[in-house]
């Protein structure tokens, strides 16, 4: 459960989020809105990558501004650019990096790695150099590195922006199988069309909230697209 309580944020004297109060309890929630409307800032609040200038956000009663580590252990974050998320030279080593605090034996580590790579469709790539993967495969690896720690909540900020249609579909199909809570920022309206709830953000405010079909329609109309 994620709760925003009168949350506002400004960069310098420029307001980016204005008095946002909402409660995110649905399993899959989409966030849409124009470039620069504040979507990234909104979701970055949830795992403490950004700290509000006023108000607060709570994740299961924990404030990420105060309990960053505990919150980040429950909340994983997926970015658009997989190149910035992959740290180790090979696929297997990058998964191992995510699990470095889990005190696993070599066998357990191999098993977890194999299982998660199988889930994202990268089995057989354990020893592959990570930077030689295609961008679609890199993003699948990035998904694997965040899912392998078994978070309660997964936030994704434009996870498919750099991907081709096939890999976009692969990511969506993967999302559909997840049991954790999912908050996805996207410009690809198809990605969130079958979610339980969609928020439309404009100039730092939630201007529409609810049924995906209606919210997507509202957003299209407000952008002058029919």
């Amino acid at each position: 459960m994620i709760t925003f309580e009168h949350l506002s944020h400004r960069f310098g004297d420029r307001p980016v989020l204005s008095d946002i109060t909402c409660r995110l309890a649905e399993q899959r929630i989409g966030i849409i809105g124009a470039n620069g409307s504040g979507k990234s800032t909104f979701v970055r609040m949830i795992n403490g990558l950004a700290t509000p200038t006023e108000g607060r956000v709570l994740v299961d009663d924990l404030d990420p501004a105060r309990h960053g580590r505990e919150v980040r252990r429950r909340v994983s974050f997926l970015f658009s650019d997989p190149d910035a998320q992959i740290i180790m030279p090979t696929v297997g080593e990058d998964i191992a990096f995510s699990l470095r605090r889990h005190k696993l034996t070599a066998d357990q580590l191999d098993q977890r790695t194999a299982a998660i790579l199988d889930t994202v469709g990268l089995s057989g790539y354990v020893e592959h150099p990570a930077h030689l993967l295609s961008s679609g495969q890199k993003q699948l690896l990035a998904v694997a590195t965040v899912l392998v720690t078994e978070p309660d909540i997964l936030i994704a900020d434009e996870p498919t922006t750099l991907l081709d249609l096939r890999h976009t579909r692969a990511i969506c199909e993967l999302f559909a199988t997840l049991t954790q809570q999912l908050v996805v920022v996207t410009h690809d309206l198809n990605v969130v069309a079958d979610f339980e709830r969609v928020l439309v953000i404009d100039e730092g405010r939630i201007v529409a909230d609810g049924d995906p079909g209606e919210c997507i329609d509202f957003y299209r109309r407000s952008m002058g697209v029919r």
């Binding site: 970015f79 020893e127 720690t149």
Partner: protein
């Protein structure tokens, strides 16, 4: 775990020598390549110790004969690990400018023997280090490093941070090379090949952007845990 070793090697090799330009190989310096040779199976600590002994030995007995023997040892090492002479060349290729500058200088200063000894030792050290990193997974290297550095804990240094820093540096090289390539292409496409500003500005901007994203990702992946 089964991996298509041949397919993999061929992908890497193709990428490495794209356009027949061995310079491209520079991006692959020290990137682990899976294999089943004795060198691959040797514990990382043993290889690092061997590297230390080898480098010290060629440094102490610096001479053309030592260089010849060292070269033989290194070449046998590469061949036994299943690498072609091209892989060896790619490891030392980044040294070419230093070599071109150093050889005449050392020759003039101390004669050809000194030139061969000094430049040869340098090449040997890099080639041997390259062989170790080609046959050893980074995690294994880091594990050894964690152990070797663990006494530092007592003075308040976290060895895991140091090894992470090393892993990050290794990671950043290919990313930066790709970034520089992209900018160079964009510059060419816009007909500004010779403008330094048209090169430096986007490289700096993108590097800053990349490091911000990398920083975010590190925090999100629990770097401060």
């Amino acid at each position: 775990m089964a991996i298509p070793a041949n397919a993999l090697t061929s992908i890497v090799a193709r990428w490495e020598f794209a356009d027949g330009n061995p310079l491209m190989g520079a991006a692959m310096i020290g990137v682990y390549r899976p294999g089943a040779s004795i060198l691959h199976r040797l514990p990382a600590g043993v290889k690092l110790l061997g590297l230390l002994v080898f480098t010290t030995a060629v440094l102490i007995w610096r001479s053309p004969i030592t260089v010849a023997i060292g070269l033989f040892v290194v070449a046998v090492g590469y061949l036994s690990a299943g690498y072609s002479p091209r892989v060896l060349l790619a490891q030392v290729w980044p040294l070419r400018w230093i070599v071109i500058l150093l050889v005449p200088f050392q020759w003039w200063l101390g004669g050809w023997r000194s030139a061969v000894a000094i430049v040869g030792t340098l090449i040997l050290a890099v080639a041997a280090a390259g062989l170790v990193s080609l046959t050893t997974r980074i995690v294994d290297l880091l594990a050894v490093l964690d152990r070797v550095l663990s006494p530092l804990r007592r003075v308040g240094v976290d060895p895991e941070r140091i090894s992470l820093l090393i892993a990050l540096s290794i990671r950043v090289v290919p990313v930066m090379l790709e970034l520089v390539d992209t900018v160079r292409e964009a510059r060419r496409a816009r007909g500004a090949e010779r403008s330094l500003r048209a090169f430096a500005t986007p490289v700096v901007v993108r590097t800053v952007g990349y490091s911000q994203r990398l920083g975010d990702a590190l925090i999100a992946r629990g770097i401060d845990d």
